[in-house]
Symmetry: C2
Subunit: 164 residues, 2 copies
DNA sequence: GGACAATTGTTGTCGTCAACAACAATCTTC
DNA sequence: GAAGATTGTTGTTGACGACAACAATTGTCC
């Protein structure tokens, strides 16, 4: 027996025979506490939920935002180049671009130099839309700052700079 | 035009007419660089991939590991309590437990005090298996340490302590 | 103590996402 | 020019989060 069990039942007996519900914060995480992956995962879920909520009116999700940003900063990239840069599978990027192209934010232009590939560009509408998205994303970033603190957010960005 | 485009084509002309492929690290991320969510997401993917690979021989994924750990540390919990503690939907936990129960690592015991709920316990086999999983998870954690540094990992855990 | 609301586990659907595999068109290389 | 690699596409699989509905059971309120 290695488990450090604080109780062996989902109820706690209060001595008078009345079963009490266990609060979530009474439940130990044991080895999980020392795992960076667990904390990072929970944090990432929180961040994405806030991002999706903050950009809810314009209906832009984190992955879509990353694609638009990269295309905006590097017009003419191929799908393969975008996928590699963002760590997205090229098969997945196809659907992402289908959606963004339907919404007239992005256009696929046949490349002159390589007839297999498409040169990706923002439409004029996409350019102005992206401006708005960036303002909303900055607002989301302020939420992150409010949640973990200004210095902690900057520390975090420094620690994880290699993964961008 | 707000885009700071270093090129407008997926090829770079080298002057002699030969098109050169663009390397991924030449592609700017623009606003993405300042977003904690992007870095956290990429890092989380890296961590999970390493975890899955390191625990590949025993076929345990991060979520399964978290469920086993919590049950091991708090025998007798209900499914609802585990789901709440780990931020998993109770509908999703059903399938997770189905799988773990089939593998004889966990057992659902009918609760005496609440006939709606199940008291969750590790089997004897589950106890010894979890020991091994924890050793492998610790090895994974050393990979994280090697990737971002010992101090950075500890800083990270401190910053994100509220999310566990 | 009996009606009504809340909780628990379960089943099902839907959409997102990563990981593969296969394919046609095209390019590169030898 | 033939063989192999690359690009975009389509499709499948499985993990995962979010919902909705349901039966069984428990809690609450009058």
């Amino acid at each position: 027996m290695t488990a450090t069990a604080p109780q062996t039942s989902p109820r706690k007996r209060a001595g008078n025979g009345i079963a009490r519900r266990i609060d979530a914060d009474e439940i130990g995480l044991d080895a999980l506490v020392g795992h960076a992956g667990y904390a990072v995962r929970r944090f990432q879920i929180w961040i994405f939920q806030d991002f999706i909520k903050t950009l809810g009116d314009v209906d832009i999700r984190p992955t879509q935002y990353s694609v638009l940003t990269v295309i905006g900063a590097n017009p003419g990239l191929s799908q393969m180049a975008v996928a590699k840069r963002l760590g997205i599978e090229r098969a997945r990027l196809v659907h992402l671009l289908d959606s963004l192209e339907q919404r007239k934010l992005v256009k696929r232009v046949k490349s002159k130099t390589d007839r297999r590939s498409h040169a990706l560009h923002l439409t004029a509408q996409g350019e102005t839309a992206l401006e708005k998205f960036k303002r909303l994303a900055a607002e989301h970033e302020r939420h992150v700052e409010a949640k973990i603190g200004k210095e902690n957010r900057e520390r975090l960005l420094r620690i994880l700079a290699d993964f961008t």
